[in-house]
């Protein structure tokens, strides 16, 4: 017991020591969940911010990415920082409703963010107020192996029928037309989002994720009927349920698969595997129902001020800084993602970034992603259903019934 106490004291002492070194500055605590590369990018931004505001010391406390999602539920009440990472859309709703995020509409007002962050404003707004500031987003679409397209003599498709026709060629050549790795579930949701957005359009998709439409609705069945054109002939990588998304990326790199519905972060993985701008291609998801305005998935990452924040004044200063065009240009160049500020610039020499910037700025509307648009519980049950559909398409009726039961319980 004595040893245990000594251990605790040592921890407390070290905490005190690290705090007192900066006693003369105003401290701004920031809890986040960055992976190593984004962490470096954010640390650079913080350094710039501290250089501009020498009297503020930003203390970044970085959590494990997965662990953060449970940690935030604790620290918001027990040990609120001044700033915290989270996500836009429905994902922030529980915290807004529990009164744990602070209304930052005044930051938006004072800095004209409604104008410069227009594309992300809707997803940051609940009850007509803004609850945080977005700092990055990225496009989704289809990444493909150009060499494999050339090998079977396929053209890059613009319509769904062309895409399916290509699949036949790939199948004949022993290549998976579409690869995915749904072991973590979410990659399957990317496919669903696009099937839904392209079949029924943005409004219908948003109503569906908001629980306003039955999963047994005929228009939802239409989505799965289109999807079945890929699943039933076996155009999707077998065993995808036990494959991680990176393993599936390897299949694309090795030429064993042709297409991959993915977010732009996957480009780094493809390139690590040896692909270059010459043989890695990107295309928007092809049109299914003609004439529907083109909407895209663009998950947005955000920073919020918890209601229990100590240093609200400086936290707002930081949010304004993160939202600014220059800061976002620099941050996103390092992240390899897209700035949410429309006055920012992107690297012209990266074809995927430029394509994404173009794609998103010309799109009719942006969805966040299934697991951010739908409430967490619905997202989980839905994504399991999508995965099951891609393994056992014959179970569709059971899957839709299960999802509908879940909808009636979750959204009541």
């Amino acid at each position: 017991m004595v040893h245990m106490k000594a251990g605790t004291l040592a921890v407390v002492a070290s905490l005190l020591a690290s705090g007192s070194a900066f006693a003369e500055q105003r401290v701004l605590t920031y809890y986040a969940d960055y992976d190593p590369n984004p962490l470096a990018a954010m640390e650079a931004l913080i350094a710039d911010f501290e250089a501009a505001n020498p009297d503020i010391d930003v203390q970044l406390n970085n959590f494990d990415h997965e662990g953060y999602k449970t940690a935030i539920r604790n620290f918001l009440t027990t040990d609120a920082p001044d700033l915290a990472n989270w996500y836009a859309g429905n994902r922030m709703a529980p915290f807004v409703e529990a009164g744990q995020f602070m209304d930052v509409s005044d930051v938006w007002e004072a800095n004209g963010l409604g104008e410069s962050l227009a594309s992300a404003k809707a997803s940051m707004t609940i009850d007509g107020k803004q609850w945080g500031v977005p700092y990055t987003y990225y496009q989704w679409g289809i990444y493909f192996n150009k060499d494999v397209y050339a090998q079977v003599g396929a053209e890059v498709p613009t319509t769904w029928d062309q895409f399916i026709a290509n699949c036949e060629k790939f199948k004949a050549a022993g290549i998976d037309c579409l690869t995915t790795g749904t072991s973590a579930l979410w990659p399957g949701a990317g496919i669903f989002d696009y099937m839904s957005l392209r079949t029924n359009g943005y409004e219908f998709h948003m109503d569906l994720t908001a629980g306003k439409i039955a999963w047994t609705d005929q228009k939802v069945r239409d989505v799965f009927a289109q999807w079945a054109k890929l699943v039933e002939p076996g155009y999707i990588t077998a065993n995808h349920a036990a494959i991680d998304w990176q393993d599936a990326a390897a299949l694309l790199v090795q030429g064993k698969a042709a297409n991959y519905v993915m977010g732009n972060f996957a480009v780094a993985t493809f390139k690590e595997g040896g692909m270059t701008n010459d043989n890695l291609g990107f295309m928007p998801f092809p049109e299914i129902t003609p004439g529907i305005p083109r909407a895209e998935d663009a998950p947005t990452d955000t920073i919020h001020i918890p209601s229990g924040a100590q240093n609200v004044e400086d936290a707002k200063l930081f949010l304004a800084y993160v939202a600014s065009a220059d800061a976002q240009t620099k941050l996103n160049a390092a992240l390899g993602q897209l700035p949410t500020n429309k006055d920012s610039t992107v690297a012209a020499d990266d074809p995927f970034i430029s394509a994404g910037f173009e794609l998103l700025s010309t799109s009719y509307a942006l969805a966040q992603f299934f697991d951010r648009d739908a409430p967490a519980e619905m997202a989980k049950i839905g994504m399991e259903g999508f995965q099951q559909f891609m393994v056992q398409p014959g179970e569709l009726e059971n899957i839709l019934t299960r999802l509908e039961e879940a909808r009636q319980r979750i959204y009541q």
């Binding site: 519980e377 399991e384 259903g385 393994v391």
Partner: protein, 311 residues
């Protein structure tokens, strides 16, 4: 105690009562910790299972829970995922028991005195010492589609590789097989110790009567190994019902929930990214606890009986 101190004349109050009080003084820290961290939480889980609560507290610290009575339990009855978990738990309980005969078999195989046998015994025991997280990672690699050893082996034998963890009908068997590896090692060491203490006289006597092989094992050896078998069964049942680590590492319950077990489903509902239903999770935990209680009562009943005989 029958014998008491003989220095009766000058005994203080403490001296008179110390034999009654000392055990309680020594029990206080243990009982306190145990009450706070084990007994109370069990009761509290029962209580929480009657609420709908997302685990959040308002900024003033008050809970946001809402009373739903037996609502969570009613929902469990119609919940497919719960049904799958329950079925898988039964599968675990039944198949995990194989660790007991497997362990016995290896123990008999190793119960020899040849050069280096001690080293062999330790190395066979090895899998039990490493964390289940590591065991799970090792087997995920073994089962991996496209390049895993098992996939390649089945591909070589049958022409098409089997990706056990992608197949909703095989995945649970795959995880149980991984779990059997360390558990068999554990049972083996129990039996090795047991075999060490088998009375040589009885074995020799039985040999003179012509008993050998399986008959010898069944009628002479196994009865003497009963204590080892009891412990092996106890630890295997507990292991089967706790089966959280492997499921979490190898499949996180997938594909589409086919490999869930109650312990993992409970965690998923209460604490994972996609659900914070503390009440529902607690209700699942209560069911798991009640299943376990059936076994615990059996174990305790046997131990109490042995204990009473021991006095």
């Amino acid at each position: 105690m029958a014998v008491t101190s003989s220095h009766g004349s000058t005994r203080t109050w403490w001296q008179q009562n110390q034999q009654t009080l000392t055990p309680w003084l020594f029990l206080i820290p243990g009982m306190f910790m145990f009450a706070v961290y084990v007994v109370w939480p069990i009761l509290s889980s029962f209580w929480i299972s009657f609420y709908d609560w997302n685990g959040l507290r308002a900024p003033d610290g008050s809970s946001t829970a809402e009373w739903v009575g037996l609502g969570n339990y009613a929902e469990l009855i119609g919940d497919d995922a719960f049904e799958t978990s329950l079925k898988n738990n039964i599968l675990w309980l039944v198949l995990y028991m194989l660790a007991v005969p497997f362990g016995l078999f290896i123990a008999i195989f190793l119960n020899q005195t040849v050069w280096g046998i001690r080293m062999y015994k330790s190395l066979f025991f090895f899998p039990f010492v490493i964390s289940q997280v590591v065991v799970g990672l090792i087997f995920s690699w073994f089962y991996a589609p496209n390049f895993g050893l098992l996939y390649l082996l089945t591909e070589w034998l049958t022409g098409t590789g089997t990706a056990i963890l992608a197949d909703p009908n095989k995945v649970t068997y795959g995880i149980i097989a991984a779990g059997l590896w360390p558990q068999t090692a554990y049972c083996m060491i129990l039996y090795l110790t047991g075999l060490n203490n088998v009375s040589p006289d009885q074995v020799e006597a039985a040999r003179l009567d012509g008993a050998k092989g399986f008959k010898m094992l069944w009628y002479v050896i196994l009865p003497q190994l009963r204590p080892a078998t009891f412990i092996a069964v106890v630890v295997t049942v507990i292991g089967a019902l706790r089966s959280f680590d492997l499921v979490s590492i190898m499949t996180t319950g997938g594909p589409f929930g086919s490999s869930r077990v109650l312990s993992f489903y409970m965690y998923e509902q209460a604490l994972s990214e996609y659900g914070f239903r503390m009440g529902y999770g607690a209700a699942i935990a209560v069911v798991l606890f009640l299943i376990m209680m059936v076994f615990i009562s059996g174990f305790i009943w046997k131990m109490v009986r042995d204990e009473k005989e021991g006095y």
